[in-house]
Amino acid sequence: MRFLLLFSRQGKLRLQKWFTPISEREKKKIIRDMTSMVLARQPRSCNFLHWKDLKIIYKRYASLYFCLAVDNQENELLALEVIHRYVELLDKYFGNVCELDIIFNFEKAYFILDEFLIGGEIQETSKQVVNRCIESSDMLQETMEEYMSKPAF
């Protein structure tokens, strides 16, 4: 995978994860291109696009668009499953996740993503294991905080 973007229907970026080194300017341009391309799509068209030498897979969940860019030899259908898995993980963590959760807890969304993907590849295929790890990390943070008696994050 090359990058993963989450943006709202108005084109506001909610999450960005880049798996290859790209300059800031390049990133901004890609974000602009992706949002305009994906938002221009008809509601019942195919979820796959071609852009430069990459395949773009996007899926809309409520008010959020999940946009994933992969190399040409990747399996697009599986990419859809990857997106779906991430949504399921978010849902389990936040309980009926909605866009607002991701806005106000963006760092948590990143932590969850980092337990699911590393370097653009899946690191754990079991939902339960990923959830357990996130919970443990959170616990670690909380106990440390309690120990240090500082306000929680």
Partner: protein, 702 residues
Amino acid sequence: MSPSIPLQEMIRAIRSARTQCEERGVIQRECAAIRAQFRQVDNGGARSHNLAKLLYVHMLGYPAHFGQMECVRMIASPRYSEKRVGYLGAMMLLDEKQDASLLITNSIKNDLAHSNQYVQSLALCTLACMGSAEMCRDLAPEIDRLLRASNSYIKKKAALCAVHIVRKVHDLGELFAPAARSLLAEKNHGVLHGAVVLITQLCERNPEALERFRKTVPDLVQIMKGLVISGYSPEHDVAGISDPFLQVRILRLLRILGRHNETASDAMNDLLAQVATNTDSTKTVGNAVLYETVLTVLDIKSESGLRVLAVNILGRFLLNNDRNIRYIAMTSLQRIVGTDHNAVQRHRGTIVDCLKDQDASVNRALELSLALVSASNIRTMMKELAQAASGIFHAAERYAPSQRWHIDTILHVLTTAGGDVRDETVPNLIQLITNTSELHCYTVHKLYRALLTDISQPSLVQVACWCIGEYGDLLLKGECQETEPSQVTEDDALDALETVLQSHMSSPATRGFALTATMKLSTRITENVDRIRSIVSIYGSCMDVELQQRAVEYNALFRKYDHMRYLTSVLYVIGSNEEAVVSISVRCSLQVCDLLDLLGGSEEPLQPSTALGLPNSTSTAGGDLLDLLGGLELTPLAPGLTHAHTHTHTHTHTHTHTHTHTHTHTHTHTHTHTLVETEREPEVKNLTKTKLQTETSSLRIK
């Protein structure tokens, strides 16, 4: 200095800013506060949430480079919460191009050896995300150590970190090969997945490694079999498939190992057949596995039976309701149509059926269909393609590489299969031609020539007649950039139209087109107006009622209001009410003429050359004319006039570009404009409300 506010409050403040300017103000204030906080030596627990605020601001697109050093400091902190945000910041703000990234190498090294696995995990994740070649070389031995001796949680992450390292520094592949091999014996799916990805990476980079890893084919087959046959496993089950992610990765690795190698391919034949037949294809996830299987079968040296099975799976995909699946089936078939031509031919019917779809996949279907045409099936193919003609038109419209290609394609379809084209394509084509103003000359020449060769295809004839009527002046001018020059005289053009009028093959509708075109030509030619007059008067006693009425009205224009004939250039109509609208428009023009008589407008006869200008721009004068009427109260006028209004009203939105239509456009434009205006107001007010509503709707409810 204002005290800094907690992260969530800042987010709220930014979101409630009503203008971009206000938002910038809030952010500038916050950034100033954050900068000040960074400069303080120790801030207690506030450090992590300051950095988090900066990261949020960064995501909105504002500069945040002053946070880089803070990331470095946070990563070095002993507190887990600070490390967590610090590493996140490093992944977002630092990349290998920044100098500051090198500074965290030491911290990462230390954290890789940390006693707590979650800290180790942070380091591994960050290294795999933004590690530069130098950092990778530095830390590779550490990663190798972790690959061999640690728990599954760390091993799986270390494997993917190794993948990143190999991508950055190819030579280090050698280092990880032995560890990768041994990881295949693990039971943990996460580790297995990481191992498969690592081995794939090593094989792709290094042919020697590929040779060595071929020996793992039996092990991979074994693992795969276990997944396919095993019963329900709650940990890894996705819609009845056991760990589809791992299955797909194994299939991909098998593909690489089996390519160009008979032995390896033989070893996996049975397995592939088993997966192809046993995988449940009712959900996307099953189809993802099947898709990967098909790709593997077609890429390795598989036996023919297996290949046919694979192509049949693709054929089944073409019938799937899901657009995505049809799309990938099409792209896959396209890739193999050269090598497995016969197998693909068997699914020709389904492929052509897909042409009726109006998605981008249609383009692929068209290419694929054309690739399947051969001497033996050309007749049937053309018939099948003709039925899908409207799909072709839609696809051509949306995805045409150039205007000229678009028009050529349409003309081509019309000439080959015009008889099977549906009726509504004629108006759509007329609209298309109108909108392509730079190609009017080219189009009219081409259509004229098509008309000379064959007048049996009604759609083609109708469009051609309309074109000649509309752009007759361009036809008669002679030179045209895009085609070979030809001399078309006024007589030639009229001959063509008369042939259509007199032919027994022409339907009444077609004759109507031809007659109207003839009439329109009267304003575009100079010498043969009398001939036109005589043609028109002949049809005044025609058996067909519609034609007769039309001819009579045209005759009236000739007799009474010769100078008003130019108004007929606005007789451009589409839609099923064609005849009705034509006659109403004519009546409208006649009534306009009567009106002007009443106003005494005929004192200044409108000279074609001055007031109405050249035939091309009759519209502007027509526009002036009706602007004159715009000031009048129209309702007391004859019902015919209001009828015209409602008719033109419904058609305006499709004809906004024709120059001949500007007069109707201006008239009804104000009407539609206000409608939009009033509708816009309440929308704006509710924006924030609806915005919040959509943001709170759960992502899972579909």
